[in-house]
């Protein structure tokens, strides 16, 4: 990862008395594929709209490529592509005409770029078909094509696979991965389908009711979501030594309260219990834990609900 390309500090958006985004701070670095995760109403689209300049923040600061003034932000946005909510399209124009218009509007001199992106998203054979006759999936593809038109450095995508069939979802995912790895495009992508994001993202921002619950990398999250033994004994420090020396367990973590997490030999629970007991360590708690991304988010959101109440 490299330089910071997007940074927000205590960003806020209030409508009347309701704060839809509050005290939001995060940073996105060059090269990340960052997933913005949260249920409907969490503030994902509002955050993207604020980054895009469609919605004006009521508090906080925002920087894009290091610039924070109105002029600098507008200039920075020319290096970013957005696809927010329903993709843009003129209904009584063809896909090619829509993209040609966008090409002119964005000041892209290369006329062949329209054909390139149409081919990239699989819409090159739509011919004279008007967008009003497109399926939802085709409109999503057109929106992605529009986002790719200017060869951006960052893509900000609001549920880009919405409405796509499973094959289309895979294609878009692979396209985004390719763009990130080969073109070094940074991606901020929102979704409430966590399983899809888990195949794509390098980092995650978990949101609930306009607040950031947690910012975590994919590596950290895998650790948190990995299946493990949770062990609590009467002599946790000795238990760690026993497990390492007697059973050769290397992937072991000690939590703040002293309890132990084992990430290996998960099918060897009998041997683990027996060995601990023989060494004079009494297991008080021994259970298998597993959290996928959805469960992890639900648990975290649930804890936060309790805290806030």
């Amino acid at each position: 990862m490299g330089n910071t390309v997007i940074e927000v500090k205590k960003l806020e958006k209030q409508y009347g008395k309701q704060k839809v985004v509050q005290d939001l701070s995060f940073r996105i670095e060059e090269g990340m594929i960052c997933g913005l995760i949260g249920p409907n109403g969490a503030g994902k689209t509002t955050i993207m709209k604020m980054l895009g300049g469609l919605v004006l923040p009521t508090g906080g600061e925002m920087e894009l490529f290091g610039g924070s003034t109105e002029k600098e932000l507008a200039k920075a946005r020319s290096r970013i592509s957005f696809m927010i909510e329903t993709p843009y399209a003129k209904e009584k124009m063809t896909a090619r005409e829509n993209l040609e218009k966008q090409r002119i509007q964005k000041g892209i001199p290369d006329k062949k770029r329209v054909d390139e992106v149409l081919k990239l998203v699989g819409l090159e054979h739509t011919g004279k078909k008007f967008v009003k006759n497109f399926s939802l999936g085709m409109r999503q593809r057109l929106g992605i094509a529009n986002a790719l038109l200017s060869k951006p450095e960052i893509m900000i995508l609001d549920e880009p696979t919405n409405g796509l069939d499973p094959e289309g979802i895979v294609e878009i995912r692979e396209l985004l991965l390719k763009l990130n790895r080969q073109e070094h495009i940074t991606i901020l992508i929102s979704s409430h389908i966590l399983s899809e994001l888990s195949l794509l993202c390098t980092d995650y921002l978990f949101l609930q009711r306009g607040r950031l619950l947690q910012a975590v990398s994919e590596v950290e999250l895998r650790k948190l979501c990995k299946e493990y033994f949770h062990i609590h004994t009467d002599q946790d420090a000795l238990a760690v030594t026993v497990l390492q020396e007697k059973l050769g367990i290397k992937e072991i973590e000690v939590e703040e309260d002293g309890s132990i997490r084992l990430y290996e030999q998960l099918d060897n629970i009998r041997e683990i219990s027996r060995t601990l007991y023989e060494q004079g360590v009494i297991p008080l708690e021994l259970r298998v834990c597993e959290a996928n991304l959805e469960q992890y988010y639900m648990d975290m959101a649930g804890e936060q609900n309790v805290e806030h109440h």
Partner: protein
């Protein structure tokens, strides 16, 4: 801003409603003289010009309303404006690109609609004696000022309402209400509002009322008084520019500080 103008032009040229509007207005203006009983034999360039000028008083505000609301309002509902903001264009560029386009398409359209038939008929039948060509041209030039002002009113209305259809309906209602109010004030209180209202200003410039009868080439013809009072011309230009600028400024302030739908 230039890229937005080019892109919008690309779009407008493919908008059937715009072309239907122009064609409809053109046909209406072309056939109008004949609806009042004038025959082709009697028609000449100046006669046609005088007859259609009065009709343009009615057509010009409505044609500009359709054009302006299409250019400024339709792009709200399908998020064209949103994507211009997202592409990094400033709100000032987006707003004034649309203002320029609305003014250009409106003025160009009306000039062509007015001039083309006059030129064709003049070439075929000659200018005639009904009106002085130079004076009419001067009036035609000053007519552009209230038209510019009216376009600015439609721009303000469209950016306040943020919807082409609603702006068109409200604009038409506004036009009718203003006409009625001006008429009531004029008839009931003997108050004249030649330049205060853009529509009455337009009418004052385009509707020729005074005439005299002249005997030319063996027949009696009406000769319209076409000379324009300098005070009317100057006031028209000044009030139109100031009122237009105020409307544009208000429209921009509203656009600048509002969240996009």
């Amino acid at each position: 801003m230039w890229n937005i103008i080019k892109a919008q032009n690309y779009q407008i040229k493919r908008d059937n409603v715009v072309w239907y509007g122009y064609v409809f207005a053109f046909i209406l203006l072309l056939l109008l003289p004949f609806s009042s009983g004038v025959t082709w034999k009697e028609l000449d360039g100046s006669g046609y010009a005088v007859m259609t000028m009065g009709e343009l008083t009615f057509l010009a505000p409505l044609l500009t309303l359709v054009l302006t609301t299409r250019i400024c309002g339709r792009d709200y509902s399908d998020k064209t404006i949103n994507y211009e903001v997202l592409a990094g264009h400033s709100r000032k560029e987006i707003y004034f690109a649309r203002v320029i386009l609305s003014l250009c398409w409106s003025v160009t359209g009306i000039v062509i609609l007015a001039l083309l038939p006059i030129l064709v008929i003049t070439i075929l039948k000659g200018w005639g004696h009904t009106a002085d060509a130079v004076n009419l041209s001067v009036r035609g030039f000053f007519v552009l000022f209230p038209i510019l002002r009216i376009v600015c009113v439609w721009v303000l209305l469209t950016f306040l309402v943020k919807n082409a259809g609603k702006a068109m309906v409200l604009g038409y209602m506004f036009y009718e209400v203003i006409m009625v109010v001006a008429l009531v004030l004029q008839e009931s209180f003997q108050m004249t509002f030649t330049i205060q209202f853009a529509f009455s200003n337009l009418a004052a410039l385009m509707e020729l009322k005074n005439f005299m009868l002249e005997y030319v080439d063996g027949s009696d013809i009406f000769v319209m008084e076409t000379a324009l009072k300098p005070s009317l011309a100057v006031q028209t230009a000044a009030v139109s520019l100031v009122a237009g600028a105020i409307c544009l400024a208000l429209g921009y302030l509203e656009f600048r500080r509002s969240d996009m739908p």
